[in-house]
């Protein structure tokens, strides 16, 4: 009787769901072939970013970021006391990522998924080196990231880390610098920055670089796929340059929101 997917505590939708099909002559993206230039923008153009800190009053710090179709909300509670845990002299950073059921073309079940944790770990590694945890003994900083709409895993990781870093600044938690992340995909011979889900699945490899442009250091690299070492170096340089540009924008947004 009870099959997987039948949740007694919720009102269940139909067991199988399909996204509606539209008769608009086919997506331009579907007709893209290897070797053709990128559709809609230059390889090194990222999509415009909307970042708004302080939207969630209840939390100590929060940020909402939108890049193209990716929409992520981040709320920070902390630093607060770690309950029921042995003494630790450095603070703990706890990240929880949740996809809303309507964030992907195929409905996601509300239960905690394997993919949630991978993205949480990637964002954790991106912002961990920036937080001054040694000033917060016995404390935990809880970061809750809700992905309202997702367009590619790399995009979620990159936007999620920027939102988390902006929210940390909004919460007044001491950080060494703002963490900015850029995602990239290697398509053919080119490096395309800020790929959509479609572009990333057509690529040979994907790359997410998180760095602190204020200090000139890299906090995390997350690379998958088959890329030659020289291409990795090119990717790193392109992403770092893009991060430096984005940093100015994010810092300006934070200044405007606090004044």
């Amino acid at each position: 009787m009870a099959q997987s997917g039948f949740d007694r505590r919720r009102i269940n939708g139909p067991e199988e769901s399909f996204s509606p099909t539209y008769d608009d002559g086919g997506d331009i993206q579907d007709q893209w072939k290897v070797g053709r230039p990128r559709v809609g923008r230059n390889p090194t153009n990222i999509r415009p970013i909307f970042l708004q800190p302080g939207l969630i009053d209840q939390a100590n710090g929060s940020a909402y970021i939108e890049t193209g179709n990716t929409k992520i909300a981040c709320a920070i509670y902390g630093p607060r006391q770690s309950k029921n845990v042995a003494f630790h002299d450095k603070g703990r950073l706890n990240i929880e990522v949740k996809f809303t059921p309507f964030s992907c073309p195929r409905r996601r079940a509300p239960i905690r998924d394997a993919e949630d944790r991978s993205i949480a770990m990637a964002i954790h590694q991106a912002i961990l080196p920036s937080v001054r945890l040694e000033t917060l003994p016995k404390s935990t900083i809880d970061i809750f990231i809700t992905i309202i709409e997702a367009d590619g895993i790399e995009g979620c990781i990159a936007s999620g880390s920027v939102a988390a870093s902006a929210a940390l600044a909004d919460a007044g938690i001491e950080v060494f610098g703002l963490v900015i992340s850029t995602s990239a995909a290697i398509v053919g011979d080119d490096v395309w920055l800020d790929p959509t889900h479609q572009e990333a699945s057509n690529s040979k490899g994907t790359f997410v670089l998180s760095c602190m442009p204020a200090l000139g250091t890299v906090t995390s690299i997350w690379q998958n796929g088959s890329i030659s070492p020289s291409k990795v170096v090119t990717c790193m340089d392109t992403c770092e340059k893009q991060c430096a540009d984005m940093h100015a924008v994010v810092a300006q947004t934070l200044r405007e929101s606090t004044s």
């Binding site: 394997a114 590694q125 961990l128 998958n224 796929g225 340089d237």
Partner: protein
Amino acid sequence: STISKAESSYIQVGLCSDPALRPDGRALTDFRAVSLETGTAPLANGSARLSIGRNPHDGSGGTEVLAATKLEVETIEDGGEDKGRVVCTVTCSPAAYPQLSNNALEDLQHDLTTIVHTTLSHPSLHPENLKIIPGKKSWLLNLDLVILSDAGNVYDALFMAARAALYDTKVPRTRFVEYKAKKRGPAGGAGEGMDVDDTATEGTSGFDTRQRKHAMDFELLDYWDEGEPLDGRQRWPLCVTLNLVPGAHFLDATLVEEAVAAVRVLVIYAFEAPHVPVVQGMRMLGPGEVTSSQLKTLLKDAEAHARNIFAGLDAKLKEEDVRRNQKASESFEQR
């Protein structure tokens, strides 16, 4: 494991000094002894047992990983794909991590599985011979890695064991078989002793005149033959974990050395053609930072280390191949 500040400082000062000093006297880029045996799980299609730093006298200690591949037939309706699928799972034996609770152990398993699975199941490494019947059946390759004990450097061990098990994997040879429905009288239907695959006619319309009026299936060419080697066995990558302390990097860290390293950079290298390196994955773990120029130097160093590890592992895999296959068939012929 948590170590005291005094011990951590003692090890770090040793690693940063010139010449560098490690607690067990190795050089910064020395590996502990790596031992490998293939074919340890006879029920699996390919298997390997690898240990790093095992005590040579009584075989205790060290990081030990068991890897085994198992092939299952999967139908397209159950989520399979025409070209087959590769799924990797890492399990941590509770004996390897006695200090971790169940939840923490599951989280660790999940993190290790994510790194191994996203790297090895990437389309760029997909083997060609996992097809059976296009549109109906294909092979699902399950690679299961079990960590029996952890004495540091578990990522390198996982990828080495995975490469060895995949190198050892044999895919049974299959042949496409058709059963044609015999034309009988008004009674029609299946004859005695004939195996008609009824699922082939499910969901098809009686008005569909294009539908073939026979069932498609496959059979093994030779029941006793293990099969052909898995395609792309030279392509499987290896991981090099570079542990960073201020001013130096070192390989093959023990547990205490891992606690001391500010950040670890995992670079996963594959060599498609000999001497053509390809980066199949990169991760950074830990609260430290690096500059991008340091990363570029580290990439080059990792490539050199990866070449050495590849050469050593390949030599051992060929030796194992000879031991198990050639010698076995020679002794069979002489019996």
